[in-house]
Amino acid sequence: MGLIVEHISKSFAQFRAVDDLSMQVKEGSIFGFLGANGAGKTTTMRMILDILRPDSGQITWDGKNVNEIPRNMLGYLPEERGLYPKMRVDEQLLFLAQLNGLSKQAAKTALDEWLERFQINANRKKKIEELSKGNQQKVQFLATILHDPEILVMDEPFSGLDPVNANVLKEAFLEMHRRGKTIIFSTHQLEQVEELCQDVVIINKGQSVVQGNVQEIKRQHGRNVIRLKLDDDLEALWLDTLQGVRVDKRRQDYIEMHMEVGFNPNRIVEAALQHNARISLFELVEPSLTDIFIEAVGKIAQPDAPATSNTLHVSTTVSA
């Protein structure tokens, strides 16, 4: 059954934050929740957590409305740091775990286990404000999972983490996945989605634009992207005259182009040979999620949306 979101809408005064959004998160899956800044991700997550209630539509978990399921089944990692800055790591986590229903003893056991796994045992007596950003994020993550919730709702858990710490967190994700937890998380780092998620939804202006299994979405968008590198002719301006091909970008390492449906990629090789070029790279690529994202969202770019930049990483620094 899992989590089913049916036609939810939510307005704040005149502003429609979420507009008739439906999606389904399978129990035990890792679900990627994508969208530009201001697309309605946080609002949707808050509605899943029953912190906000939708104006219309409903959200159910295993057929039960989310406002009826016990609180401690849910774990929430807010987008911004949500911890007491002046409280010690261990006291803080024990307090939150107990508030979420664990006994003191069970909370201690879980705490010891996870502090060890996250390699922050040495920091357990420190105050949150004394920790590095990466370690703070780890503690925030622990605050979300320590009470062993079934559903994890995480708003940009990877923001502000260096590659090493991101990897530790990724491992923890997979560990929770192995334990059968359902994980919903939003991110701007689309490689992580491709790596971790079975299903995704991309929303824009509160509406779902692309939705489904990551592999299927990629397949749907077809293998219509070609990368070409010619050693002696980096520009390959003759490509512009070729019918059925549209050059997207000319990079230092390759040229990327789209081809129309039914176009035979061999014709590019033939044309290159006719121009006496030396081919060092020719590749038919699946579109990355980044491309799909930009295609879906970028057309209707928001002022601070990531669509204008080549990589989406930039946007995380904007929001940080």
Binding site: N37, K41, T42, T43, D50, F95, L96, L99, T144
Partner: protein, 476 residues
Amino acid sequence: MLKNSTVMPEAPEQPQQSTVIARSGSAANQNTLRNIGLITGREYKNRVMQRSFIISSIIILILIVIGAFVPTVITYFTANSNSQTKIAVVNNAGPIAGLSNDALTQYLQTNLNGSSASGGIPTGQSTSGKPRFALTAGTDANTLQQQVKNAKLDILLVMDRGTDQNVRFTYYTNTSSTIDADAAQIQTIASQLNFLDKSSRLGLTAAQTSSLFVQPAFTVVHTAQNQDTRSDGARLAGYFVAFAGVILIFMSVFVYGMTVAVGVAEEKGSRIMEILVNAATPFQLLVGKIVGIGAAGLTQMTCFVLAGIGAFLLQAPLLTALLGHPSGGLSVDIASVSVTLLLTLLLYFILGFSLYATLFAALGALVKRQDEVQNAVQPLTMLFMVGYIASFISISTPNATWIRVMSFIPFWTPTIMLMRIGAGTVEWWEVPLSVVIMIVAIFACALLAARIYRFGILLYGQRPGLRQLLRMARAK
């Protein structure tokens, strides 16, 4: 908007007034008591362990103890540092009241240093046993006058008789008259001497004269309806405790109320609210916070009050030990302060804090950043201030109708009613009635505050106006 977006990246999601925050009923209610207990425990521990809290407590404790010791120390030092006042007596009047020169000097010496005539002015032997006044008989008034001028001599007293045979006293001193405490004392002795002299000239015996000085029977009967049967010391102690209590209540309710407001704003600002609200209901958070901070405040208050009372109780034995006799003058009889008055003080503190803390919490939940708290709570501070000031006015007119009416308005009861109790003008039913009114008001305010709080804690947009507040309060 620009400022907001740094705090809230998803800028268009700034919730406006129509937000319906959930979490009113439902699953989180299951563990209400457990959750309140946990939140209270965290608040209490967090508050009490804070270095600033500990340091300020210690400083105030020291100040209280020092304050209690100051009068004793002053009494001790004035008693000890009394240098002898040297007085030269030149008698040009012959025998006065049958006393000739040596006997006269003796008489003055005894009466000035004894505890006889003079009322409130501290007299008597200093601990070293040195007499306060040293008298010598002199003859040459002019030389002695010069000595007074040169400050070799403190006082020169010249006595002679006028044409009517009455004794005339001339008092020479170098001390400015405003700070000369000796003049009054000597004047008292002088008129006594004059009286004796006249009566002896009239032929009365010494025994007859002294019978003239016996006080008449004089009984005071109070006919006011509230008969204050307390002794003067007890009455003064009542005033004193009420006075200190009003200040204590005002300071503590304000300080701890402010702590509540700042605490709420802090949780909102640090976004921990979003996690907390997933685990507990806003009502649990509100109650836990208020009880936790209130308990921390009560702990601090109890320390202060106990230290204060302890230090005061030490003063009488201490003075006795230092001076060999209890201090003169009017003492504040702290021991006589009834336990009832202290319990009333405690009760009013708890009620007053509960009432204001709920409102402080609601206002704290409405601000966007912590530094706005001060402004947001201003109306509440003003409201409280009115009662505080009125309570001091009520000292002089504790029975005025407007004071009595104000003392039943829950926002002002803790200060004004307490002062009236101290003044001893309260009917037996007035305190219980005011307590009932306060409890009703607390429930009303808590309900209102819980609703505003519920909306406010996740509201990061503009501060809502009065109309939005009303709408929040009305929402289910």
